[in-house]
Symmetry: C2
DNA sequence: TAAGTTTTTTACCATTTGGTAAAACCAACG
DNA sequence: CGTTGGTTTTACCAAATGGTAAAAAACTTA
């Protein structure tokens, strides 16, 4: 049923990458429904039928992007180590998420668009993989709190607050730039976040 | 040039409201480009030409929603009083924003969609009205800091952090529900936010 | 109730959109 | 050199989409 059962050629590898890069640009701005194959084709400097030679259809491109995103999206949280010191582990998580907002803002917006629309394609992953990972780390944080190593608080909302604060700088970038009148908000945000979480975690 | 120069009839008032309500539902989910007039028509239980009898076109409906949104969107920040106590003023602002996320999640998502897409229609307002209001309140906060009434910090990022934390609960609702496995996250979030900002502001 | 006005429906239309068929092209390799 | 397999283009298509014209229906008011 699938098109390429053999190993992909050099041209295939290159063109798939070009298409995914173009599609990321378009999907991250307009969401799945708002994006068009013609836009992606233009961005990729390729004809529309040629794009459909490499991917089964619009949905397949979007799925490929989401799948690729998931491979790295959860890494920063996975790295949080139960054996480590709460403050440095959580600040490390914040820094890694902030780095991702700086280095991969389009991926962040792609994710935001999917969630805004009710996560029609990612809901199973959210309820499965993501929930499992969060539950695991919540247990870790509960352990730290029970051991008196950090202040008492709801670990779920601690994690939500980290997501909110860090992703905001990628997703609402245009608003932030409009208000500040300049770029580089994330660099300014880092010391602010460090102070915020330092004060929050202290017992 | 405009259609109704006279005062609108009762039917006009009712149907415009029905259309805007339906359009809010659709635009807040799919964004401007991803939403269709047919979806709005179905949601409004009205024929498409009938909708176009009340509004000039798709864009006019969207504009009407954004305009209506702006009337109340900035109110919570406007209410922040320079004469008041920093802690209660800022906590009050957080609570009002959180209330808006609970009571008007669709409006929050409509706004989020617009910003995600680079604010093509709202950029002038962001650079004008919003920036002016934020600059004013930043000056107020700087005054509080200078008077030793709260901890030192970057007031811009304090405001950004309030936007991020409060709006996250409306915009990323489906993710939060997937992870928690239940509703009512905002009710849980309120004490968390209070603790967070109490600790952040204390000198 | 009849005339005038507003509202709604029916029947369209041009463009856009996701997608396909098949011809043309091209890069090896025997 | 010519054949073979992968790649790209050209020419389409059906459905969806934003929008319009005009008739029909419903409501108002003299």
């Amino acid at each position: 049923m699938d098109k390429p059962l053999k190993k992909p050629s050099r041209i295939q590898i290159r063109n798939r990458k070009v298409i995914l890069e173009a599609a990321l640009e378009v999907f991250s701005r307009y969401g799945f429904r708002g994006a068009t194959l013609d836009q992606i084709a233009e961005q990729a400097a390729m004809s529309k039928p040629n794009i459909l030679y490499y991917f089964e259809g619009k949905e397949a491109i979007h799925d490929a992007l989401l799948t690729r995103l998931l491979e790295t999206w959860l890494d920063p949280l996975r790295e949080m180590d139960a054996q480590g010191d709460p403050k440095s582990e959580i600040l490390g998580y914040v820094r890694r998420k902030l780095d991702m907002s700086r280095d991969f803002p389009r991926e962040s917006r792609l994710f935001a668009n999917e969630i805004l629309q009710g996560a029609p394609r990612m809901m199973p992953v959210l309820e499965g993989e993501l929930k499992a990972l969060v539950d695991e780390k919540v247990a870790v944080i509960r352990g730290w709190i029970a051991a008196g190593k950090m202040a008492e608080m709801d670990p779920y909302h601690l994690i939500f607050s980290i997501w909110a604060l860090t992703q905001h700088y990628a997703d609402f970038d245009s608003q932030i730039r409009a208000v500040l009148g300049h770029d580089g908000a994330i660099a300014e945000a880092e010391p602010f976040m460090e102070a915020l979480f330092t004060r929050l975690l202290a017992r």
